[in-house]
């Protein structure tokens, strides 16, 4: 079963605007990660935030994590047309034997020039 649920499913913005995507999950986690997928390609790792962290930055990306609400957000500032892609959150927890990465449904971001 899917662990994460991204919101919104699709987002369309103008270049230069900020894009915010949210992710909710169900079980306890060790870390949460965000990935980007260009159309028809594999996923690329963007950022990882551990369960004991609340906020993390990487370039134009800002990720927050609220373990009490089991939610995370990804903010892309000053968006560019090249940011157009699908963004997935993935949770990692030591369930079962060694745990696996479970992905959400993704947010499809479209940045118009």
């Amino acid at each position: 079963s899917q662990q994460g649920e991204e919101d919104p499913q699709a987002l369309s913005i103008q270049e230069g605007e900020n894009a915010t995507m949210n992710c909710s999950y169900k079980t306890s986690i060790n870390n949460l990660q965000w990935y980007r997928q260009n159309s028809g390609r594999g996923l690329v790792h963007l950022i990882l935030i551990r369960s004991n962290e609340r906020e993390k930055h990487s370039g134009r990306l800002r990720v927050t994590l609220d373990t009490s609400k089991k939610s995370s957000s990804l903010l892309i500032t000053a968006s560019r047309a090249a940011d157009t892609a699908s963004y997935f959150c993935a949770t990692y927890n030591y369930g079962g034997s060694q745990g696996n990465l479970i992905f959400g449904k993704g947010t499809k971001l479209s940045v118009k020039p």
Binding site: S1, N30, G42, L43, H45, F88, L101, I102, K105, G106
Partner: protein, 110 residues
């Protein structure tokens, strides 16, 4: 770019054929995964491996099988392809929590 490779990138085959999707990584990672993804949809874990001779089924039931005879190689096989197998198949390896993906194989069964 991660050193994980999938071949072929695109494959169109007839119903009933046996096919093997190849996945290789040169990073020496023990953990490897196969995900199935329909266009614009979520990823479903279908197989994983924690090392040589270790294979497990994932959350989504799949008629495919996998093997892990060498660390760097994790092929996926469909004994008899059906149109319902049409999808994109993504291979990944994982190290210290981070997953590295191949470019995917887009399979069409006609």
């Amino acid at each position: 770019e991660a050193d994980i490779y999938q071949t072929p990138r695109y494959l169109v085959i007839g119903t009933g054929k046996k096919i093997t999707l190849e996945c290789s990584q040169t990073m020496g990672h023990d953990k490897m995964y196969w995900y199935q993804q329909d266009p614009g949809m979520e990823l479903h874990l279908i197989h994983y491996s924690y090392g040589v001779n270790s294979t497990e089924k994932g959350d989504l039931s799949s008629e495919s099988t996998v093997s892990r005879i060498r660390t760097e190689h994790f092929p996926l096989t469909l004994e008899s392809a059906r149109p319902s197998h049409t999808s994109q198949y993504l291979c990944a390896s994982k190290y210290q929590g981070e997953a590295f993906f191949g470019q995917g194989t887009r399979l069409t069964v006609v």
